[in-house]
């Protein structure tokens, strides 16, 4: 079963993609030919100025988000082919200015597509009877499976039960699949005749732009593109407010450095502002959030989850994120890294540096003998430690510069990645002398998609 970042070669071998639809290579050529002689620029996936983008995003999303369902229809006059116009559900929806089912939120990132799906549980018998076949089949398909094709995964443990959204009760499902399977997903939309549902696909992430044309031409689907940072923040605030099936959404680590005493404890984010939000996907974006609608992107770094996994693939030959993490859990990074004590024989007191601190990531690998003596597990561990420490360090500096002491780390890099989370928690606490607190959230990678869904439902 493919996991996060399932590798292409593996997929090809299996001959299966999303929903077993034929694999379609997409976008690769465009991406690789994009190399230019120009100087490369560092930055996160959205390293750009905020203002123009926000303006643009608002206008782009106006038809679906700013207007009513009628507005949506008005904007897509040609696509309304008038099937069961007498449908009660539809009338009801229109009356309540509620979008038609199905309710999706989509976040198409550089590596992973995150999909949230709201499954209504309050469907009346009448409603069910009138439910069009394609809608029913989607609902049944998504809710009765935990894996889709070879790479689609439903994170069952994250499912939010008995949620009320726009007056409807239901469960929220969290699904992910690799971005390179996006063409297959669009193809499925076409095969399942999504366009006849007159639904609106609210999508965020860079892929919303990249795949917009394919959605339209292949799937006859109009994407409503949304700003990813807006969605991210909306999603986080919403999810935190609904909790996690009665439990706390937000948590932190007590004694993160001590394997025996380390405890994951709930954190009540009752005073969320100001907040430093560190979103670790393929790359990293760091936002300073001052209120619900007042935030800025502080900076970003290209050393993110994609770097960890990319380097692990090159160094160890691993093929999945899970495999990389599993190797890392068995490795010893001190064989790879040069520590302060390796240079100074102990602490470097002049600068107050503890002997255990890493002086040079991969520093021992300058020596041929040591290169020959390390295992793949050690290398995976060192890669994980390197990337994590660096993110922690940049986040800490941003927190200092912005004068914020709560730092929330989100993004799929942290999925099943306790090593990284504990390290972030420890590093932040240690280097800030207890001034900064690292916080985490159960639905780490899905906030953008949730935000997109909220935009669909116009939930503020």
């Amino acid at each position: 079963m493919g996991g996060w970042l399932g590798r292409q070669r593996w997929l090809l071998r299996m001959g299966a993609g999303w929903l077993a639809a034929p694999m379609e290579r997409h976008g690769r050529a465009a991406a690789t030919s994009a190399s230019s002689a120009r100087e490369p620029v560092p930055g996160g996936p959205d390293g750009r100025r905020r203002e123009p983008l926000r303006r643009r995003a608002n206008s782009a999303s106006a038809p679906a988000v700013g207007a009513s369902a009628e507005g949506v229809r008005r904007d897509r006059p040609g696509s309304y082919s008038g099937a069961t116009s007498a449908s009660r559900q539809r009338v009801e929806s229109l009356r309540k200015k509620r979008p038609l089912f199905p309710w999706f939120g989509l976040d198409i990132g550089g590596t992973l597509v995150k999909l949230v799906y709201f499954e209504p549980k309050d469907i009346t018998a009448e409603e069910e009877e009138e439910e069009v076949e394609s809608l029913k089949s989607i609902r049944k398909y998504l809710t009765s499976n935990v894996a889709y094709g070879s790479t689609g995964i439903r994170d069952v443990h994250l499912e939010l039960k008995d949620l009320t959204l726009c007056g409807r009760k239901g469960n929220l499902h969290f699904i992910r699949f690799p971005t390179h399977d996006m063409p297959a997903f669009i193809q499925m939309g076409r095969d399942k005749n999504f366009s006849s549902l007159h639904t609106v696909f609210c999508a965020t992430g860079g892929g919303a732009y990249k795949f917009e044309q394919d959605f339209l031409t292949i799937g006859d689907l109009q994407l409503c593109k949304l700003d990813e940072l807006d969605c991210l923040i909306k999603g986080i605030l919403y999810i935190d407010s609904v909790g996690f099936n009665g439990r706390s959404q937000c948590y932190y680590f007590e004694n993160p450095a001590d394997s025996e005493k380390c405890q994951k404890l709930p954190f009540d984010l009752k005073n969320p502002y100001p907040l430093l939000l560190v979103n670790i996907g393929s790359g990293v974006s760091i936002l300073a959030v001052y209120s619900k609608d007042n935030y800025k992107r502080v900076t970003g770094t290209s050393l993110g989850g994609g770097t960890f996994f990319g380097l692990c693939c090159l160094l160890t030959g691993c093929t999945t994120f899970e495999e990389a993490l599993e190797m890392a859990s068995r490795g010893d990074s001190t064989k790879v890294d040069k520590l302060v004590r390796d240079i100074y024989g102990g602490d470097y007191e002049r600068f107050g540096l503890p002997g255990w601190a890493v002086a040079s990531s991969f520093g021992n690998m300058m020596s041929k003998e040591k290169r020959e003596a390390v295992s793949k597990e050690d290398l995976a561990r060192a890669t994980l430690i390197t990337i994590t420490n660096n993110i922690g360090s940049i986040a800490r500096m941003c927190a200092l510069n912005e004068n914020i002491n709560q730092v929330v780390f989100v993004g799929n890099f942290l999925r099943i990645n306790t090593i990284a989370m504990r390290l972030l928690a420890y590093a932040l606490d240690y280097w800030s002398k207890g001034q900064l607190k690292a916080l985490f959230s159960e639905h780490e990678g899905y906030f953008g998609a949730v935000g997109a869904l909220l935009e669909l439902l116009k939930i503020p």
Binding site: A31, P42, G44, P178, Y209, G283, G306, C312, K338, M365
Partner: protein, 816 residues
């Protein structure tokens, strides 16, 4: 005997051939007299610093004990010259690969004759590893010094003492390096040292600095991870790979995520969204080059980002980068600069240091030499003993690159008196002495380099001729030729190799090279006419162009203690000019006030024509030995001059007198005696005090401080105005601290600066091409200034839109 370093290493170079051959004239000079050692052992390079004394001969000018009558005798020089041995201190640095450490230590042991030291200061990561070896080989106790303390000490030292030490990297410009003028206040700054890891240090004062942060992603990461990814073992090879790679094949860019939409979104599509992001999602092999490039960007960007975050937190805008990751590698300077500009939006400046590789060694040395108070002195880079930066394109100068990777040098001379800024500079931080930056001006660069090249034969001949009694003069002169020629060739390919390239630096480099081979003054024994003979007719003329530098007071051969048996040019000039002084002054006094003011200015200018350095002038002098002061005046361009603010000056003279004038004199002989002194006399008569500043050491036929004392004394004997002014200290003679025909107002003798402040100088007069045109033409002062010169170089005259003997008279009053 001063050649000891060369001969010493030459004789025993054989013993080293088991691993290396040490270039005998280049490496470990003056080791015999080494007094103190420091060593900085890095990951791959060792830097050795030693302090030794260099003996050389200097001329002492002494006035004859004369009665008034003696001066009337013809052909009697006004003073005598004696040669004395002088010992000066010099810092030597040698950089070599760690592989050679044993051979080098053996060599040092064999040559350590006169040292009394028992310890060697050691710093750097390797100090620990090689401690036993050093102690065993050298029989010196290793004293370990803190790496960062040494680094900061060294950094402060070079920033204060070496002009054009710091530079910025500029993409797409030629040359890529832009050197910074030394800021009078170097603190506070951020030093980002990229060794195997990264240390970020905030330096607040000479002794106060703080480690404010760091990162483990540094040079060791590039090297270690690079070695794993590419199977390439050497750091330099990894950089080579990186410079050929395409990171976009490995990195996930914004455009890979957004597709073509980034353009309509106003996003920069080539932003790296995720370093190595493509190696996670694609099933393909990646080239070593591409991976190395991606790694380089990843690390450079990360360091740049952290540096910006720290700079912002501490409100600093100057960040110096050092460490082996940077060390002269253009590719890393490029990526770091790019990153800093990107993350700081141009608010933080990434600066690099020419002698960055030596900081630790310098610092360790200074640590060990604290009882000698090294900070009390000023130090000057010795151009003869300094290595250039590595070429930005290794293909350009492969031999040189290979060489500097193996051995590298830096020498610094201790100047006995501290040098400081002229307090009258309008803005010391933006003052640039040199008028033309030859690194920028390709046309001028070509002209001057050719000019110096063509003059080299003549200089070599004169050098040999100046030491008839020396058996090895020809051999040494040839070595000088080679060395200077090589430097000129290096400069043709890398104009930035020694900092900003200027006419001044070319000249100073030649002087340093001559001194290096024990030719402190090759022109003392020959007549100017002889000098110009070997030159080709088409050779351009310049005031500094070597061929005919009039003799300074120095004689160089040991057997000679007096220069009087040869008619030394300056001596003779001064003697002749002194005889004319009274006549000139009487003639001036006979003029009415307004006529006299113009005559005085013309006198200054005419005197300036008496420059034996310029071939056009020496030709005139040779063809007409009676060429006199009045005739020189006739040569001058008629008013209006090329630059002419005389009317404004005259108007000013009708106003109240200046409080105190600081005058920088140029040439010896007619210039100072018949040009400057009458001008000084007029100022004194007006009630203006005068500080007359002359060079501390000889350069061309420039008047030296010691000479000026005698000249003043002789004039005082004839002239009551000068006499009383000297007695009452209204006329003060000072030394500039320099031995250059040019003038750097940011490095002047501290005594001069103190005096200028005490007396409240409100007028600065700078005369001569070297001081007022090649340098200081654009210098902005906070008081009135007068810059005057006669253009005695037809190329330069043409360039300025004038002709040979065009006159520059630039009188400036600061705004408000």
């Amino acid at each position: 005997m001063a050649e000891c370093g060369a001969s010493g290493s030459g004789s025993s170079g054989d013993s080293l051939d088991k691993s290396i051959t040490l270039p005998p004239d280049e490496i470990f000079r003056n080791l015999e007299n080494a007094k103190r050692f420091a060593i900085d052992i890095g990951g791959s390079l060792t830097k050795l610093a030693y302090y030794s004394t260099v003996q050389h001969k200097v001329a002492k000018v002494r006035s004859f004990d004369y009665s008034g009558k003696d001066t009337e005798q013809d052909h009697e020089p006004p003073y005598e010259i004696s040669v004395q041995e002088e010992v000066t201190a010099r810092l030597h640095f040698v950089k070599f690969e760690n592989t050679y450490i044993e051979a080098c230590l053996d060599f040092i042991k064999d040559h350590l004759v006169n040292t009394e030291t028992k310890v060697i200061q050691a710093t750097g990561g390797g100090a620990y590893k090689f401690k036993d070896l050093i102690e065993e080989k050298l029989q010196l106790k290793v004293d370990k010094e803190d790496v960062m303390t040494c680094l900061i000490k060294g950094c402060n030292f070079v920033l204060k003492n070496i002009p054009h030490e710091a530079f910025v990297y500029q993409k797409d410009s030629d040359p890529e390096f832009r050197f910074q003028t030394n800021h009078p206040n170097i603190f506070p700054y951020l030093l980002v040292n990229i060794g195997s890891g990264v240390s970020i240090v905030k330096v607040e004062t000479e002794d106060r600095f703080e480690w404010i942060g760091g990162s483990s992603i540094g040079g060791g990461t590039f090297w270690g991870l690079g070695a794993l990814l590419t199977k390439t073992k050497k750091f330099d090879e990894l950089l080579q790979l990186a410079s050929r790679g395409q990171h976009t094949n490995v990195d996930m860019l914004v455009q890979d995520i957004y597709g073509g939409a980034h353009e309509t979104l106003g996003l920069s599509g080539n932003l790296i969204a995720s370093s190595f992001g493509k190696s996670a999602t694609a099933d393909q092999e990646f080239s070593k080059e591409d991976m190395a490039k991606s790694l380089l960007h990843m690390i450079s960007n990360d360091i740049g980002q952290l540096a910006c975050l720290y700079a912002r937190l501490h409100c600093l805008d100057r960040v110096y980068f050092g460490g082996f990751f940077i060390r002269g590698h253009p590719v890393t300077m490029r990526t770091i600069t790019y990153s800093i500009n990107f993350f700081s939006k141009g608010e933080v400046q990434a600066l690099f240091l020419r002698h960055e590789g030596y900081l630790g060694a310098i610092g360790a040395f200074l640590k060990g030499a604290e009882q000698d108070n090294p900070n009390q002195y000023s130090w000057g880079e010795n151009y003869a003993g300094s290595s250039g930066l590595m070429s930005s394109s290794p293909e350009l100068c492969p031999t040189q690159r290979a060489r500097s990777g193996t051995f590298d040098l830096l020498e610094m001379d201790r100047l006995e008196r501290p040098l400081v800024n002229l307090p009258l500079l309008l803005d010391p931080s933006s003052y640039v002495p040199d008028t033309v930056d030859l690194t920028d001006d390709a046309l001028a660069r070509k002209y001057w380099l050719t000019c110096f090249e063509e003059a080299l034969d003549g200089v070599v001949k004169r050098a040999v001729a100046s030491q008839p009694g020396s058996v090895d003069a020809a051999e040494r002169a040839e070595k000088f030729r080679q060395k200077y020629w090589n430097k000129l060739q290096t400069l043709r390919h890398q104009p930035f190799a020694y900092g900003t390239l200027t006419v001044r630096s070319l000249l100073d480099t030649r002087e340093h090279c001559l001194n290096e081979f024990n030719f402190p003054d090759p022109y003392s024994k020959s007549r100017p006419g002889e000098a110009s003979s070997p030159r080709s007719p088409g050779q351009p003329v310049s005031s500094i162009n070597c061929g005919s530098i009039a003799g300074s007071m120095v004689t160089t051969s040991a057997e000679q203690s007096r220069g009087s048996d040869e008619q030394l040019v300056k001596q003779k000039d001064n003697g002749v000019a002194l005889k004319c002084f009274q006549r000139v002054v009487s003639a001036l006094d006979a003029l009415d006030w307004e006529e006299r003011q113009l005559a005085l200015v013309k006198g200054l200018l005419a005197g300036n024509v008496f420059d034996w350095g310029a071939k056009a002038v020496s030709d005139v002098l040779e063809s007409d030995p009676q060429f006199g002061f009045e005739e020189a005046k006739k040569k001058l361009q008629e008013r209006p001059w090329l630059v002419d603010s005389y009317s404004k000056w005259l108007q000013r003279l009708k106003g109240p007198p200046h409080k105190c004038a600081l005058i920088f004199a140029d040439n010896s002989g007619v210039d100072v005696i018949l040009g400057v002194f009458p001008f000084v006399r007029e100022l004194l008569s007006r009630g203006t005090e005068v500080i007359l500043a002359c060079n501390s050491g000889p350069a061309l036929n420039d008047v030296t401080y010691s000479e000026s004392l005698i000249v003043a004394e002789r004039i005082a004997a004839m002239d009551p105005v000068i006499h009383s002014a000297l007695r009452e200290e209204r006329l003060l003679l000072v030394q500039t601290g320099s031995s250059s025909p040019c003038l750097d107002l940011s490095r002047l003798d501290k005594g001069l600066a103190v005096l200028v402040r005490e007396r409240g100088a409100d007028l600065v007069v700078i005369e001569g091409m070297g001081r007022a045109v090649h340098t200081n033409y654009h210098a902005a002062l906070c008081c009135e200034s007068l810059k005057l010169a006669v253009i005695k170089n037809s190329w330069l005259a043409e360039r300025l839109g004038g002709q040979l003997f065009s006159v520059i008279f630039k009188y400036e009053v600061p705004a408000e």
